[in-house]
């Protein structure tokens, strides 16, 4: 059972190859929609929009908001300030955390309810588990940034998370805090494989903000691999990336 809906302004695909009913699928879609209602900076009625308007005191933030803020703060420290949900405009935009966080929560819920085989794809950030419909390891392509219909690599992430970030995604929403804008030398895209999708996503975002230093930053982190593509069409991979280019 596989279905795609547009949530959070992006395609969300839930693939449950062994599901006999749509119950799990509907539950996960509902969860993503609830996340969007709370965290969308595009929706004036969302909690994050109210916070940015100064209408909610910190004591009244929801537990989910506090959890996301805590993850964001720890990511900011781990990335030397390159990841920061405070935008140059002085607002808070936690979307760099929210997507990965929501996917991870969905994956945990599926596993907890006995769904062992799934693939969740939210706007190109992917968390799989188990096997695909054919009973084989999940195969994930890395999109060719110069040819959206093409893929330049096929990887087998197993239960690891795969996130791709680029300086060009959704209107340059990644900032280099030292410059107050997107980094000039950022790779066109960087795909990060991490222990889970939240880890992969937050470090993919930070790696792009670091520009050409991002790939080496990922390489120094245990449990992470990355594949960056620059504007000239040259890819740079971390040493262990090739472990994921064949079934494990």
């Amino acid at each position: 059972m596989r279905e795609t809906r547009i949530i959070m302004g992006m395609p969300v695909t839930i693939d449950l190859p062994r599901a006999r009913t749509s119950e799990s699928l509907e539950t996960i879609f509902c969860d993503f929609e609830a996340v969007d209602r709370r965290f969308s900076t595009y929706k004036p009625e969302s909690e994050i929009s109210a916070i940015n308007r100064g209408e909610i005191a910190r004591d009244h933030f929801s537990p989910q908001m506090l959890e996301v803020f805590a993850i964001a703060e720890s990511t900011r420290r781990e990335t030397d300030g390159y990841f920061d949900i405070a935008t140059p405009a002085g607002r808070l935009d936690p979307s760099g955390i929210v997507k990965g966080w929501a996917i991870r929560n969905a994956a945990e819920k599926l596993l907890a309810t006995g769904v062992a085989d799934f693939c969740l794809d939210v706007g190109g950030d992917i968390q799989c588990a188990g096997r695909n419909e054919s009973g084989e390891p999940w195969r994930i392509g890395i999109r060719n940034p110069f040819d959206p219909a093409g893929i330049v690599k096929i990887i087998y992430p197993a239960a690891h998370g795969v996130a791709t970030s680029g300086s060009y995604v959704r209107g340059d929403h990644i900032y280099d805090p030292s410059l107050g804008g997107p980094p000039a030398d950022a790779p066109v895209s960087i795909t990060v494989i991490g222990p889970d999708i939240l880890e992969a996503d937050r470090f993919a975002t930070a790696a792009v903000a670091m520009g050409n230093d991002g790939i080496a930053f990922i390489a120094t982190r245990a449990g992470f691999e990355a594949y960056a593509i620059d504007a000239a069409g040259i890819a740079t991979a971390t040493p262990g990336f090739s472990n994921y280019t064949r079934p494990q």
Binding site: C119, F146, I151, A163, D213, A219, I234, T236
Partner: protein, 236 residues
Amino acid sequence: MQKAALSLAVIALSGGYVLLQPPQPANELVADSATLAPPAEAAPAVPQAKAALTQPPQPAIAPASSVPPPPELPETVSAPARPIEDEEEQHIPMPRAVTVPFPAPRPKILEVAVPAPAPRATNTVKVTKASAPAKVAAATIGRFADGTYLGPAANAYYGLVQVRAHVSGGNLISVEILQYPSDRRTSVRINRYALPILIREAVANQTGNVDGVSGATLTSNAYRQSLAAALSQAVS
């Protein structure tokens, strides 16, 4: 040409894991900086082994004559190594030569290993384990003529890297990092930790069925501008 070939090999070998990598099988080429940092003009210490390289590199290219090192570059220092952990992020004077072990090469056809920047340090970094048996390098690259070789300043993705290689007994025994990017704070931070080998390749579409695609979906002006700039270089 031979020099260029060796330089490539040197660049390929000059990345390595210094601090965070688990110990590799020990070997006799432990890159203790005190022992592996001969002055650039030092003669090969070990008689040359049989050179199986098709085009053996020129031995003992004197850096001072052919390609002078940066003027501020002193001889390799042999001052007591300072634990790198002690060096907090701070701006310290530009580097002296740093001796690091050569890493395990990860050769792949059409792929070139690119070293990350060297550790930023004012003293020689003490490295306790060499990271690869010499025979790996020999099997992959071929044996070298003994001597000391200076590579060109090469673009290592985040900036220029220049290395000097020391070959003894037909094997690469150490690589000094003479120049590395230090102008960005992330580079400096990364340099303190490790020298990862990064694999580079040209991207090309692959065929095959996939269950999902990871990527960015929307392009923006920044991307288009960057690509246009790159392509304009390609045709000029």
